[in-house]
Amino acid sequence: MAVRIEKDGAPGYALTTLESLIAWGRKYSLYPFTFATACCGIEVMGAFGTHYDLSRFGAEVVRFSPRQADVLLVAGTINYKMAPVLKRIYDQMLEPKWVISMGACACSGGFYNNYTVLQGIDKIVPVDVYIPGCPPNPEGIIDAVVRIQKIIETGAPRAADRWPIK
């Protein structure tokens, strides 16, 4: 984006492409869908809470309808009973959409390696940003949101574009 401001106070102008203007607008108005199932959900609440205040990054308007959300924040363990629900919610979200996988359980199953736990949500949905930790601190969530903003800003390919991984 190029911006010119006239010194004598005359109106300046900005040159940009439509894509980057849209990306700029999109970047600061992310609507997350918090798919919080377990312990990570408590830290998600912490991130939205007064101390960490995710709204500083323009992502505080939580939408519980997948139709209105851009970012799917999967926080917590997903088991085989829940997995079809997650897949369905992902499918219902409108393009463009991004997915954050929060915590060890969502990323890989964590230390639950048994008959019921899905070993990482990237087996069923494409994931853009992984947050490690059990559970991650709210700072981790903020970092993930900023990373999503960078993906939007730079127009970097989304995980969904590379999906499914062969």
Partner: protein
């Protein structure tokens, strides 16, 4: 000897197999035939009054005979006492009468024991899976169910 176990043995001499009070927990192993009567007696007897069914679970002693055990934990609000009632069930016939009529709150515990161990509660109003999904085969907490044997509902087979 504890008053609870004494009362129980006095009333059901033929049904109480053994008792112990290890670690301070009064425990009675009883036969399954009159389990509902025994539980109702424990609830209603004025000296016992076990009005809370705190917990019910199955245990799988694989390799022993009988294989399964159903464990009831009861609590008496008035007497501030606890008791544990255990029933052994054979593998080929893991059936016991339901105690829903005694404590309605025991309903889901029995469903869980069915779901996890395959113990059948005869006369239960709604003996369906509770934690696992309907399509799941087998009973995951049985000792012969492999820990990581998965039955995916979605996604790639592992």
């Amino acid at each position: 000897m504890s008053i609870v176990l004494d009362r129980l043995r006095e009333r059901f001499p033929a049904d109480v197999v053994s008792t112990h009070s290890d670690f301070g927990d009064d425990t009675a192993l009883v036969r399954r035939e009159r389990i509902v009567e025994i539980l109702a007696f424990l609830r209603d007897d004025p000296a016992l009054l076990f009005d809370f069914a705190m917990d019910l679970t199955g245990v799988d002693y694989l390799g022993e005979e009988p294989r399964f055990e159903v464990v009831y934990h009861l609590y008496s609000l008035e007497k501030k006492r606890r008791v544990r009632i255990k029933v052994r069930l054979h593998e080929e016939d893991p059936v016991i009468d339901t105690a829903v009529a005694v404590w309605p709150g025991i309903n889901w515990y029995e469903r869980e024991a069915w779901d996890m161990y395959g113990i059948v509660f005869r006369g239960h109003p709604n003996l369906k899976r509770i934690l696992m999904y309907e399509a799941f085969e087998g009973h995951p907490l049985r000792k012969d169910y492999p820990k990581a044997k998965r039955q995916p509902t979605i996604g790639p087979e592992e």
